[in-house]
């Protein structure tokens, strides 16, 4: 993953295999396949996202961490209290 310079044009979060142009017109069968319900015992949906890490801006990709345990934590927002 190449590091990107901090500028006004930066990559945004993106789920792997998703269409960046928004929801495409598709058949019901394809929709079902794309719904990707998250469940224990199932593959974690891959993604890339811009990140801040140890003083630098970089892109992170979930699948770059295969071979290691990953704790993926979501939280409501920076500067929230708990």
């Amino acid at each position: 993953m190449t590091d990107k310079k901090a500028g006004c044009s930066v990559p945004s979060a993106k789920v792997a295999n998703s269409d960046s142009e928004g929801l495409p017109v598709q058949t019901d069968m394809v929709k079902e396949e794309k719904s990707m319900t998250v469940m224990v015992g199932k593959k974690a949906p891959d993604f890339t996202a811009p990140a801040f890490h140890k003083g630098e801006f970089k892109q992170v990709k979930l699948s770059d961490h295969l071979g290691k345990w990953v704790a993926l934590c979501f939280y409501p927002g920076d500067f929230t209290f708990v």
Binding site: A49, K58, S63, V82
Partner: protein, 133 residues
């Protein structure tokens, strides 16, 4: 991971979090602007426009082994997250032949599920051993 930009993550780390943890946050703070990742993981609130407190443990094969989702006002217990990782690592190392009973901690009693254990867990494990009652 939150819907904040990586720029806000940096400022939060620099002005506040680095005063709680020496050297600042040691892991990547990722931006899920727009909530597309949170949506796929089932933790994005369309009403609030934020990702709620969801935590996923993903094994070395990329498989989700555990998940926990909390509403915003209650914080997580990092010790419990670490305990679960240690338990899953033990199970994985055993090739799935061992299981960790309720309340297990590193060094604690581990079960070896097999046909002889059916109906006999009470001989091997008691809640008093880990919960004291």
């Amino acid at each position: 991971m939150s819907v904040d930009s990586q720029f806000v993550h940096k400022i939060w780390n620099d002005v506040e979090l680095s005063r709680m943890v020496e050297g600042g946050v040691p892991f990547a703070m990722a931006s899920d602007s727009g909530g597309s990742i949170g949506r796929v993981y089932g933790v994005y609130s369309e009403e609030a426009g934020v990702d709620v407190r969801g935590r996923f443990l993903i094994d070395p094969d990329g498989v989700i082994q555990a998940m926990e989702v909390l509403t915003p006002p209650v914080g997580r217990n990092v010790s419990e997250t670490l305990r679960q990782i240690q338990a899953y690592q033990l199970v994985r190392k055993s090739g799935g032949t061992q299981a960790t009973p309720s309340g297990w901690k590193p060094g604690g009693k581990v079960l070896n599920p097999n046909i002889d254990l059916v109906g006999n867990v009470w001989k091997e494990w008691n809640p008093k051993d880990v919960y004291g009652k």
